[in-house]
Amino acid sequence: MIEGTPVHFHRMKDMPSSHLLGTGTPMCAGCGGLETLHNMYDILGEKTVFVNAAGCMTLLSVYPFTPFRGGWLYTSMASAPAGAQGVRDAMDIMIKKKKLPEDENMEVVVVTGDGSAYGMGMSATSGAMDRNLNFIYLCYDNEGYGNTGQQYSAATPHAAITSTSKGSHGYPGFKKDLFSIWAAHHPAYVATIIGAEPLDLAKKIEKLQGMTGPRMLISLAPCPTGWDYDPQLSVEIGHLAVQTGVWPLKEYINGKVTHTKIPKQRKPVEEYLKLQGRFKHLFYPQRDEQGIAEIQARIDAYWDNVTE
């Protein structure tokens, strides 16, 4: 917490009651990524330029329709942070040359999925952090290439069934620790968020608004389509991701990682897993005790090292 930053978000009643993001987007019913974005946008406000790498959310703005009230730029999957650099530089130069009034300055916000953030966009992101680009990056992480039918990505968790890991044990790899990779660049801010915890999200957005430099956010984005569950469970699954310790809510500032929500009594991870079709093979036709225990052990090992 930066000294002197006022915090407006204490309780749910502090959350905005009107919403900036237009309705009528083509995101799936129950989209966890959209939930994050609309809550984030309410706080960031309309003076924002979104730089959007190819993914589900590029469908947000399809001419002549857009849910945004400010600017939007579409880039290829690997180059959204490079696009953000261009937009930032252009605005800085215009302001310097007095071609753009200072009060019309806008915040540049990169929005990409996990396919881009954890994989092919990583080099451009690393470069943007090297150059200390003044921007915000939101990765909506639905743990696979959701827009094209949920192929596995570097963010796919161990054992999840995807359309490219259909075997009886699901995805054999492990979810990449993007938070640590980003934090290792020592940017101004890195945080994990989730739409199901709007207050935690709001506090973090508010905090990063008071900073300059790269401000990086990873939001777990429960995905009814890709994870195979009833859309009405989106928030419930989000809550369980936090309560079971699958999705630690944390932030990195000044070389230090702090958890913003440490579950006192973590729920067993199977409560999270069993609601999702992509993990059905762990429970049906027979329970895979060993598989579940391994997933639980990795979560426990993570939290054993967490003190703050």
Binding site: M12, S17, T25, A29, P67, D230
Partner: protein, 312 residues
């Protein structure tokens, strides 16, 4: 060539239906093309998939504009212009509708020359996005109507396509598909192959000459925000959340914060108000409302009630 179009809602398995039917044609020795329309198909949204099958190479491409058979898994889509069910239908087209209502009713309602056949709807399902097995039923009915796919071939195709879901799923799908296949027996062969279009027979349509417009007229720059509200995503909804204001505790708009689409507005009296033009029916609000003041009812029943209310 057989040209068959499947219409349904995202989640009902129309893409799978087209795959099963395509595979069945293939096993019977046909050249086959099957494809879902690629786009922003989402659960509950109107979607379609199509199959072309011929004994010679299929060179026709793109969306089927003159179908020999149109299969509709959900009769609430028929009257929805955005679903495009009626597109390109003429007297040679067979229209197969999964419905509780009779062919006569639909014939009158649609005032079409197409031959209408009813695939009798099973027991009433609350959530139309979850019609179980409808994809397999539609594929089986289409196969039977074509007369060129044997039941044995169909069984083989369905098994191949659904094998990855496990034996139990295959068994259940086969059971309902078999009933649908048999139910179509009286109409077997009603769907006829239509001829290949010939370049020499091509009759140039009577074009309306529209002068070329400048780009700024046909695709103008839009200096306005949040134009997406013009898109009525409420059409996707199969279940409608309804707020019981007697139970609503007027909390801090938890439903509005959680609604992924931001489709719940908060009134000046601090009460939530659902925007049905855009609510996609995910029902997150129903699941999260602290005093359980939001319940869900099937959209088609809600619509019927609205109509009845408007008439009385």
């Amino acid at each position: 060539m057989f040209r068959i179009r499947f219409h349904g809602r995202g989640g009902q398995g129309m893409k799978t239906a087209s795959r099963i039917l395509g595979t069945a044609f293939f096993i019977e020795g046909y050249e086959v093309q099957d494809a879902p329309r690629y786009g922003a198909e989402r659960r509950g949204a109107p979607i379609f998939a199509y199959v072309r099958a011929d004994k010679v190479a299929v060179n026709e491409r793109g969306i089927i504009s003159h179908p020999d058979l149109v299969v509709v898994s959900d009769d609430t889509l028929v009257g929805m212009p955005a679903a495009g069910v009626m597109q390109g239908i003429d007297q040679n087209t067979v229209l197969l509708i999964n419905s509780h209502e009779t062919a006569d009713t639909w014939q009158q309602r649609l005032n079409t020359q197409a031959k209408i056949i009813i695939l009798p709807a099973q027991e009433e399902i609350e959530d139309r996005a979850e019609l179980p097995y409808i994809g397999s039923q539609c594929a089986a009915a289409a196969a039977a109507l074509s007369h060129v796919i044997s039941k044995q071939t169909f069984t083989q195709a369905l098994t191949e396509e659904l094998q990855h879901l496990g034996d139990e799923v295959v068994k259940q799908n086969l059971a309902v598909a078999s009933t649908a296949f048999d139910a179509m027996a009286p109409h077997s062969g009603i769907v006829k192959e239509s001829a290949l279009p010939s370049a020499t027979d091509y009759i140039k349509p009577e074009w309306i000459e529209l002068p070329f417009e400048k780009a700024e007229i046909s695709a103008p720059a839009i200096h306005s925000g949040a134009t997406s509200v013009k898109v009525r995503t409420g059409l996707w909804r199969t279940m409608r959340p309804v707020i019981n204001y007697e139970k609503c505790s007027g909390c801090w708009w938890i439903c509005s914060t959680y609604c992924p689409d931001g489709a719940i507005n908060v009134t000046d009296d601090k009460l939530p108000d659902i925007d049905y033009d855009h609510c996609k029916g995910c029902l997150v609000c129903v699941a999260q409302c602290p005093p359980h003041a939001i319940e869900s009812i099937p959209e088609h029943i809600a619509k019927e009630k609205e109509l009845a209310g408007a008439k009385s």
